[in-house]
């Protein structure tokens, strides 16, 4: 996946004519953008960000302002939060004002001695995506990038069913992690393990997000893994307990989070619908070996 992405970056750089505007001032020539900002304004990378948002966040109603403008506008900036010693990670933001979306991104580069793990991303990855009220004018500190809507649209349309799925060792690790989470959930809920092979559907991987959704069919449960560690790094799956959340379709889905006083334990129907579409309709079916779950559920700690 890394090589394909790197090739795409090089090839696309040759074909896309850069149209970058720095701050409020339009530049007539290509400005000397280097380093982190060069990566954040790179068209191939922004296209991957757009593809991810298109799959997971953008709705039909979001498209109208872009169609009218005939261009997709990106506001990009580098962030420099105070980091721990020896942490060389880089951070940034990408806003798509026409879609009212703001994303934070990170290029991780640090070590975790306690886990004996090196965390080094192969590209900037999305860490947060939020709906925002976009201001009319670009805020200070951002750089504007524009891409022709028709080109991006055609590419997204052509590749809408194209998906990269884990295979080989990575699939093996992911399969084991999903199986462990299911077994843990069954034990925690004092249930008997279901008999026979379990079926889960995995969503496609994105080169700009370290997250995976899986739908466990007979358990009617969505499982979400997210990490700072790249998914093809074995360390991610050795420590999968760190960021895994389960959402039972029968218990954890609401129309609006207002129904549940903003609890973090729920998904909206819209979010769940999107995850189900990406897992079931364009995802990959994976079978898990029958579960062996401890007869004794875990004791409640007091």
């Amino acid at each position: 996946m890394k090589n394909r992405f790197a090739e795409a970056v090089v090839l696309a750089s040759l074909f896309f004519a850069p149209r970058i505007y720095a701050g409020e001032e339009r530049m007539s020539t290509v400005p000397p953008i280097e380093g982190t900002l060069a990566e954040l304004t790179s068209h191939p990378w922004l296209e991957e960000v757009t593809r991810h948002l298109y799959r997971w966040y953008i709705d039909e109603r979001d498209i109208a302002p872009v169609v009218r403008a005939n261009e997709i506008i990106y506001w990009v900036k580098e962030n420099k939060p105070k980091l721990d010693e020896d942490d060389r990670s880089r951070f940034g933001e990408v806003w798509l004002p026409q879609f009212s979306l703001a994303a934070k991104v990170k290029h991780a580069d640090y070590t975790i001695p306690e886990m004996n793990a090196k965390v080094k991303s192969d590209a900037f990855k999305l860490t947060e995506v939020e709906r925002i009220e976009a201001p009319a004018a670009m805020p200070a500190g951002f750089t504007e990038v524009r891409m022709p809507y028709a080109e991006v649209r055609d590419d997204l349309f052509k590749t809408r069913n194209q998906a990269v799925f884990p295979d080989g060792e990575m699939l093996g690790r992911m399969r084991a992690a999903v199986r462990a989470e299911i077994a843990s959930d069954i034990a925690a809920n004092h249930q008997r393990p279901p008999e026979g092979t379990q079926v889960v559907f995995l969503c496609a991987l994105s080169p700009v997000a370290n997250e995976v959704w899986a739908f466990w069919e007979s358990g009617r449960t969505l499982i979400h893994f997210a990490s700072d560690i790249d998914l093809d790094n074995p360390a991610m799956w050795e420590h999968e307990k760190l960021e895994c959340k389960l959402y039972h379709l029968d218990k954890k889905i609401v129309v609006s989070l207002e129904d549940v006083n903003g609890s973090n334990g729920f998904l909206t129907r819209n979010e769940a619908g999107r995850a189900l579409f990406n897992c079931l309709a364009v995802g990959k079916r994976v079978e898990l070996e029958p579960l062996k779950v401890n007869a004794e559920p875990p004791a409640v700690k007091r």
């Binding site: 939060p81 886990m115 860490t127 947060e128 420590h239 760190l242 006083n261 819209n270």
Partner: protein
């Protein structure tokens, strides 16, 4: 703010009122936290009030390797901000609101706030069981136990320091309350919307996550994103 009193006792059910001036030692203590003794990486038992608070603080904030991880300082700030939210929900209800609207139900102390709402509560996985004891679901303990386990590998590092910070913060809160230092207390206007100040909710920073109703997102310019969480204040009603 001047009328803020502490409402907490060691048992979690007693109430105690202390004048604000007695909170000063807490501030001093918090400032000294980074320089205090050796790191242990242990949390007090979750069946105790400080243990339960510490469990929540650790559960709700990112550690190295997790997606929202930025730095030790950011996670510590996130823990403190969460504690502020919980404390604000006890007896700093803005005019025009009831406690039940903000905290799901009537709450006398921080344990009530954490366990409020049962299944629909703000603090997913934290509840009172049939006996009335405050407990957390196994998934919470699994993650926190794992972090504690990690903290014991090699010489004490960030994991141990973060666990210690949560434990010390929870113990200090139980002993002396949150005080008047509130990062969000002074916010009066967000993008033209008059707000009450203080934070009353937090959510994991993710797309479309919004508590809805009168909650107003605190922007990054006001440090509204800390420790992997987005904090929300309230629209001013009166």
């Amino acid at each position: 703010m001047q009328s803020l009193f502490l409402r907490f006792g060691a048992s979690g059910t007693q109430r105690r009122s202390l004048p604000l001036r007695s909170l000063r030692p807490l501030h001093f203590f918090l400032a000294l936290l980074p320089f205090l003794g050796a790191t242990s990486g242990e949390l007090p038992p979750s069946g105790t009030v400080p243990g339960f608070i510490a469990l929540l603080l650790v559960n709700e904030t990112p550690f190295p390797g997790e997606r929202a991880w930025v730095s030790e300082e950011d996670t510590k700030a996130g823990m403190l901000a969460i504690l502020w939210v919980l404390d604000s929900r006890i007896d700093s209800i803005p005019p025009g609101y009831t406690q039940a609207q903000i905290a799901s139900e009537k709450c006398r102390n921080i344990i009530d706030v954490i366990t409020a709402g049962g299944e629909k509560g703000q603090c997913d996985g934290f509840y009172r069981d049939d006996r009335g004891d405050f407990v957390a679901v196994p998934r919470v303990h699994e993650r926190v136990d794992y972090l504690v386990q990690c903290s014991t590998r090699g010489k004490p590092g960030r994991f141990a320091r973060l666990l210690d910070y949560a434990a010390d913060l929870a113990a200090a809160y139980e002993k002396g309350g949150i005080g008047e230092a509130d990062r969000f207390a002074g916010i009066r206007n967000v993008d033209g919307v008059p707000v009450t100040g203080r934070a009353y909710s937090w959510m994991t920073d993710r797309g479309s996550f919004h508590p809805g109703g009168n909650f107003v997102r605190i922007p990054d310019s006001e440090s509204g994103s800390l420790g992997g969480n987005r904090f929300f204040t309230l629209r001013k009603l009166k």
